[in-house]
Point group: C2
Chain length 355, copies 2
């Protein structure tokens, strides 16, 4: 498992467009206590609303890592950033990146990291020596988000449910399977980069034995009927041994993103197929709730979409950005007061970010 050293100094550098700082905003929103400051080259750069700090001051205040949460187009690390990253390594910070370009390819950075005893961590690169799955049933409880497609709210839903379960008194941890999630959580495994024979094994390693009342809330990946990425999804389901699945969907999306010839399956089909897969390793797996990304709908259409999804699946429906999750949490925890549907706009939103 990748393990990061918190707290973070969030690197902004010279990035001036909010869109290119999406990951940094997500980290700030979901892991605010872990963010000690932002490192900007000038006031023209995006402001995350965190204290401006240079690497040395951040290190003096206890920062463990500099995190690159911005991405210029192309995924390369600009030469203008090199000096700042080397300064961070010199100050004793680990350098954490989700970019395609590897940190070790920055001239001089590897040498500085070795000299100062810090680490260069590319969160797209999985840990070595992941074992083959054993299928051994682990202790503790697990929730996995699954979806009708990619990129419609599986990470956001898992993060929001982790917070909601905690508010309801449960002991819950978010388990990250993608790069942004890993930085937010401070640990995780980038599932899509794991060699295919080891997907289920990686998922087993991600959520180890825990106390019986503890919930691991696992970030889903891909989609079981996705023409390109379903293998990741199935291995993640098997290795996660989920007690509860939460199905994520975006009403109005009728085909797979970037695959216009491939229509989405019905919520019922996707739920049944995921449950069938989950029961390979956990015979008591059940559907706990359905999470909708209703950002394109007005309140009336949102309420109707939630009611329809809840009726189709027989579980509570919610939008983590828009509605209460109380019914879903009760259903997940197996409490009797689970309501089938919660109407929009009755609950204050605690966290920002986007789907």
């Amino acid at each position: 498992m990748i393990e990061l050293r918190k707290p973070y100094l969030l690197f902004v550098g010279d990035i001036s467009k909010r869109l290119h700082a999406k990951t940094a905003f997500g980290i700030r929103d979901w892991s605010r206590d872990s963010c000690i400051g932002q490192f900007r080259f000038s006031n023209a750069a995006v402001d995350l609303g965190l204290p401006d700090l240079g690497p040395e001051d951040a290190a003096a205040q206890g920062a463990g890592s500099l995190v690159i949460g911005v991405a210029p187009i192309g995924g390369q690390i600009p030469a203008a950033w090199h000096e700042g990253l080397i300064a961070a390594a010199r100050a004793g910070l680990d350098i954490v990146s989700g970019m395609h370009m590897l940190l070790a390819d920055i001239p001089g950075l590897g040498e500085m990291a070795r000299a100062s005893g810090t680490r260069l961590i590319d969160v797209r690169v999985p840990p070595r020596h992941i074992p083959v799955a054993t299928g051994r049933k682990r202790t503790g409880r697990r929730l996995l988000t699954v979806g009708t497609d990619c990129a419609l709210g599986k990470k956001y839903t898992a993060l929001a449910l982790t917070e909601a379960l905690r508010r309801a008194g449960a002991n819950a941890d978010f388990r990250a399977t993608g790069q942004t999630g890993i930085i937010i959580a401070g640990s995780g495994i980038p599932m899509d980069a794991v060699v295919s024979d080891f997907i289920a094994g990686a998922a087993e390693a991600l959520s180890p034995d825990a106390s019986e009342a503890h919930w691991d809330v696992i970030e889903g990946q891909g989609a079981i009927y996705h023409p390109a990425f379903a293998g990741v999804t199935l291995g993640l389901i098997h290795g996660s041994q989920p007690d509860v699945l939460v199905l994520c969907h975006e009403p109005g999306r009728d085909h797979f993103h970037s695959f216009p010839d491939f229509p989405l399956r019905s919520l019922r089909e996707v739920a049944d197929s995921c449950l069938d897969a989950a029961r390979v390793t956990n015979a008591s797996a059940r559907l706990g709730a359905v999470s909708l990304n209703t950002s394109s709908l007005d309140d009336a259409a949102c309420a109707e979409a939630l009611e329809r999804a809840s009726a189709e699946l027989g579980v509570p429906a919610f939008d983590p950005l828009r509605t209460s999750m109380d019914g879903a949490v009760a259903s997940i925890l197996g409490r009797h007061d689970a309501r089938a549907v919660v109407m929009p706009a009755v609950h204050p939103i605690s966290f920002g970010g986007s789907h």
Copy 2:
């Protein structure tokens, strides 16, 4: 795609146990025309029944590669082999290995290969730059073997069906997805070593567009309900876009190999689940036949097992080592003379090897 240079000089070295030369025998049996000779250190070594040749003589007779088809316990390449492998590289042969130890780790071999312009090919290592799957429907026809478990005859069945389709006048090629299959075919992709985001993309690359009457017969991997390896299976199904599935099973096997707590599903469940997956990328996918490994059964029990499997699935049943495949071939080709079941021991076996 990995592409090997045939014909082969099969390396036996000092291996004296037939069990440790299983891959070499498989290559000889399934790709006899590609085997120019065997390279043994002495007459005490296993005899594949091929001419004894040293690397220089083999190269003079046109050999393209030396293939290591033997495996001492542990998967390491013994020091006693190094001189012979370096001599083969010096003679201009590519060196092909399916061992866990990489060829480049043999002292002096990399230098010799560079000096003589030959290649070191580890068939466990997938090619670079495999693309993400597109789902684009390709021309030509495809058959994929699937199984209730690993290690019960998916490769053997695919090889036997390729030969049977050719005997029936069809234009067919075996498409390899594992190391032994890749050496037999001379090309292929080791699916279980591909990064999980690219499994379906690798399967697409493995069986490119072909003429409409051409059949690619694709070696299956894993099993859709397997607790460790199902991700590979699902990605392979999606990327292969199979017109026809052939389900492989070993009667009497009641749980997954090495997973005693995981019972096998019924043939019907496995077939339905694989067909549901196949129809994501090929709406007309159908089950063509069922292949049984009946090596542990007497003739009466074999006949009963074939009848039962055929009745359960409504397609012809066969054992590629024991029965005619005429009914299966007719079913696969969509011919009207497809018979439901063919009794054992009525057809001469053309090829050796083991399941």
